[in-house]
Symmetry: C2
Subunit: 565 residues, 2 copies
């Protein structure tokens, strides 16, 4: 048994001391040291990725209803955090954890977070954030230049000009996309005559004033759910998100976009305003990048805002080998990008960047006590109010790792992706289901027998002259895929129970079996510590567990094969 | 001159090592130690609060257009951060800095940020945040219970039930208020027949379906600008924010609310839906708390959502001495609260709490790859997507400081406020302009002569029987106030130049000179290290600088006095 934590009697002198950086930093260092050991242990621990404790058991650990009355010693709370929280945290840094975009971070990030907390600057206002306001604006310029490559004179004039903002820092990609769509909404229905803009008069009057029945957003079926959230927040209604199908490579179907835009423009009955066309630069599920050049051209011709969601993929622009994938991104009116994904910063920070330095002025606001007119405060241009000095993390990281360093990390990520793809393709019991442009791989477990049989049926469907044979083959393919979907859901659950490795799972309509929905496993290969041996182990584990589950599915498959109707 | 930072050639082995917690934590501790010294120096530094560097000079330090190409050593970047960033940061922890809600934090917060960064959990999903999801839900219950005091069985059933959320954690108060208004908007126009709710069908169809011309939000003129931002974001249009004047104590005028609600309800021509009534529990400018009980009753009778913005003042509920101020808060449908203000946590985190456990289900969302239906992920209930494990800070802090400790800190804050008020009142050259309920003081510098003269004119206005004398006294009062407004703006600028002390400045219409706008200085007295000697010094400094500026205003005042028209 551990000691019972000591309750302390509150007294003001003790409390005041908590607020003072001790005269000699010994006390602080002492706790710091202890904490480093705890953190170190966590990183060295060999156990499962998610800790084996069940959710109901965890519920029981965190079931207090009321706030503790009397105080506890810092050391007791740290040890409680160690045994209750750290122990049961997800080891997202683990190189066997390749399921999500949340991954390992360089250890210097922990030091940067210490600085951010110690300074406790509030970015909303220059009176609470001096140098940090300038760091933020410099970082914004770096990324603006990376994306839009405008002339040096543009940046010399605008980087530190308090009257404009080339972008803003947000709590994450959702707020970045929301800011973009907010600006797009304002541009779609600008003030005119008695109408003072959507922000002032609302969506109903905006549509009414301009004689529109609806305002729509166009994005591919791979669009991140934050786009839909932004549209519903903004009062546009997410029924007005027009989801365009993707091609076989998970890119938005450009011809379908063109056709849709034309139909919308020609519809005299339901007059429709296209508020924005959204391109995706690194889809969350498959890691693919839309044809941004073509989308940019369509948007320009339709005289509408063009937003690119580069939250995940954007940082790949740092590596020249990937620049071609993003061709046309400089046509965007706005681009969102996250720092807690491919910039390898800790949770969480997003950025929204606008090509035109005046765009963010459309949503500028002021208030007497916090942001006066003619102020130089960054807070005028953000949806959020109080904000931390999170920008220090990517700013410092871009110096410590450098463009070259990020380039190497992305090359490594790509090599991992290609390597995993090749072992999956050679194993026999897997089927890869996307062609990765960045570092995400979709695949499924499918025993060789089933895979071979599907190939035969595919041939029947495409080349048989007998209509019935075609029909039966199609039916059996569908049934088998449903069976394999169930198998992969079971496999994913079993992998979670095994807990030595981790990939995520999703469902795609855009595989070679389209339009049938296929359950796929999804690997995000960005941890530089995930080496070939580890990838071999991960695939072996999936193969082993997959085959053992397959035993229970086999007879159902034989039944499908033998069925002659 | 400092050494030129060494450019490093990128290599993957070096980069990989950055991602590994070193086998012995020595390296990490070495940097950690160095950093602690830097932080320590910053806290000991005696210089000005804002650093004397001018904004144009700072612009020149942060004027790089492009991202650094080759990497720098961590130690070089840390020393750059020291000389460029830390040196020119605002010393918000300084006990002479009493101008904003951003203030000192206990040093253990820096340790907690280290843990949060090291774990790098992403709260959006259980697969990326295991124990931390439960910590967050426990914290939400604590605050829910503090505010709403529902029965134990309510919390036993709902605290860790994944099907509901009693609240959610946000990046700050703005997002907390936005979440509340989003739910209120959905409740105001619920799905019915062909109408699927505002989120799906948008604001225009919502009004149209229910036969309303407009939807409005009612809040006092002291309402935080985030309410207005939320309303404009939501497509309601901030022209539909109905701003109700406050009484002499900066409380919303209850009779005016009642009258307004009645008028809105009886208007047959412009049919209006009241989306929500907002009460403020701790106004940003003056620290006052609306009559929540009366507002709650009005909202219930009007069958509308009642939201309380307790972002600043909410934590005062921890101290029983303040409970009475918040009487009626338990009637609210939603309450927002910040942890980076009176919980003394670093930037930034907000919370939104809903009395009814089903309210957040109205805005629930799902997506295939990240949040599947029937998932237990917290991300279903939040506007934001990826989110840090920020809730660890208040959770641990409530254990370390405890209710009792917070109670003592608030008592101390209140004593500072009262003490400052008394020295201002006794100095002769100041006028206090609000009656603090919490820890914010509004006042202005006004030389004794002017103050005395204003008192004489006040008498004339109230008791003279000569209409002309009344009129002239009123005119002279107004002119003098304008003069003193200018004086206080100049004083505030001079204090910024002096930079040994800091208060903020705002403009109020609700002082004893209403409806004239009065420029006031604003002190937020929450730093427990701000003692009586320091307050004396702050007031002395303001008095000294104020008197020297007054010399330039004196003749203008004499002119006002002597003018007989």
């Amino acid at each position: 048994m551990t000691e019972t934590p000591k309750r302390v009697v509150s007294n003001l002198e003790y409390l005041k001391k908590l607020f003072i950086m001790p005269d000699s930093p010994d006390k602080f260092v002492e706790f710091g040291h202890e904490l480093l050991e705890i953190i170190h242990d966590f990183f060295q621990e060999k156990g499962g990725i998610h800790s084996s404790i069940s959710l109901p058991e965890l519920s029981k650990i965190f079931d207090q209803i009321t706030i503790p009355d009397s105080p506890l010693l810092i050391k007791d709370v740290l040890s409680e955090i160690k045994s209750k929280v750290i122990k049961h945290s997800v080891k997202v840094y683990n190189p066997y954890y390749i399921g999500h975009m949340t991954s390992a971070i360089p250890y210097f990030m922990i030091l940067l977070e210490m600085i951010i907390a110690a300074l406790n600057q509030n970015q909303v206002k220059i009176e609470t954030a001096k140098a940090s306001s300038f760091v933020e604006k410099e970082l914004i310029t770096w990324l603006h230049h990376l994306i839009f490559r405008r002339k040096d004179i543009f940046y010399e004039n605008h980087t530190q000009d308090p009257r404009v903002a080339l972008g803003s820092v947000t709590s994450g990609g959702t707020l970045a996309n929301l800011t973009a769509l907010l600006v797009a909404r304002e541009k779609a229905f600008p003030p005119r005559g008695g109408f003072q803009g959507v922000r002032t008069n609302g969506m109903a009057e905006a549509l009414n004033h301009y004689g529109y029945k609806r305002g729509v957003i166009i994005v591919s079926s791979r669009g991140h759910y934050s786009i839909r959230k932004a549209v519903n927040l903004l009062g546009i209604g997410d029924a007005n998100v027009i989801s365009i199908p993707v091609d076989d490579h998970n890119h938005i179907d450009i011809n379908k976009v063109r056709r849709k835009v034309k139909i919308l423009q020609e519809d005299e009955e339901i007059k429709t305003k296209i508020i924005t066309i959204v391109g995706i630069a690194g889809t969350t599920e498959t890691g693919n990048v839309d044809n941004l050049e073509a989308l940019g051209e369509i948007a320009r011709n339709a005289n509408t805002h063009f937003h690119v969601d580069a939250c995940w993929g954007g940082p790949a622009l740092l590596a020249d080998d990937y620049r071609h994938l993003f061709k046309g991104i400089e046509l965007a009116n706005s681009v969102s990008i996250d720092t807690h994904k491919l910039f390898f910063c800790p949770m969480s920070m997003g950025l929204i960047l606008f090509r035109n330095e005046k765009d963010l002025n459309l949503i500028k606001h002021a208030s007497q006590y916090i942001i006066r007119k003619n102020s130089v405060d960054i807070g005028r241009f953000t949806i959020e109010g109080s904000r931390p000095f999170a920008s220090l993390k990517p700013w410092a990281s871009l110096k410590i790792i450098g463009r070259q360093g990020y380039g190497l990390l992305f090359r490594e990520a790509r090599e991992s992706t290609d390597y995993m793809r090749s072992i999956l393709d050679h194993c026999g019991n897997f089927e890869t289901l996307n062609i990765p442009e960045l570092f995400i791989l979709n695949y499924r477990f499918i025993p060789e027998t089933v895979r071979d049989q599907l190939a035969i049926w595919k041939k029947d469907i495409s080349s048989s002259e007998d209509k019935d044979i075609k029909k039966i083959a199609a039916k059996k393919t569908k049934k088998s895929n449903n069976l394999i979907n169930g198998l992969n859901i079971k496999l994913h659950r079993a992998l979670r129970m095994d807990d030595t490795t981790f990939v995520s799972r999703t469902t795609l309509e855009s595989t070679r079996y389209r339009p049938q929905n296929i359950v796929v496993l999804r690997a995000v290969l960005i941890n530089p510590l995930t080496n070939r041996e580890i990838l071999n182990e991960i695939v072996e584990t999936q193969n082993r567990i997959g085959l053992s589950i397959w035993k229970k599915f086999k007879s159902a498959f034989i039944k499908i094969c033998n069925n002659t109707t």
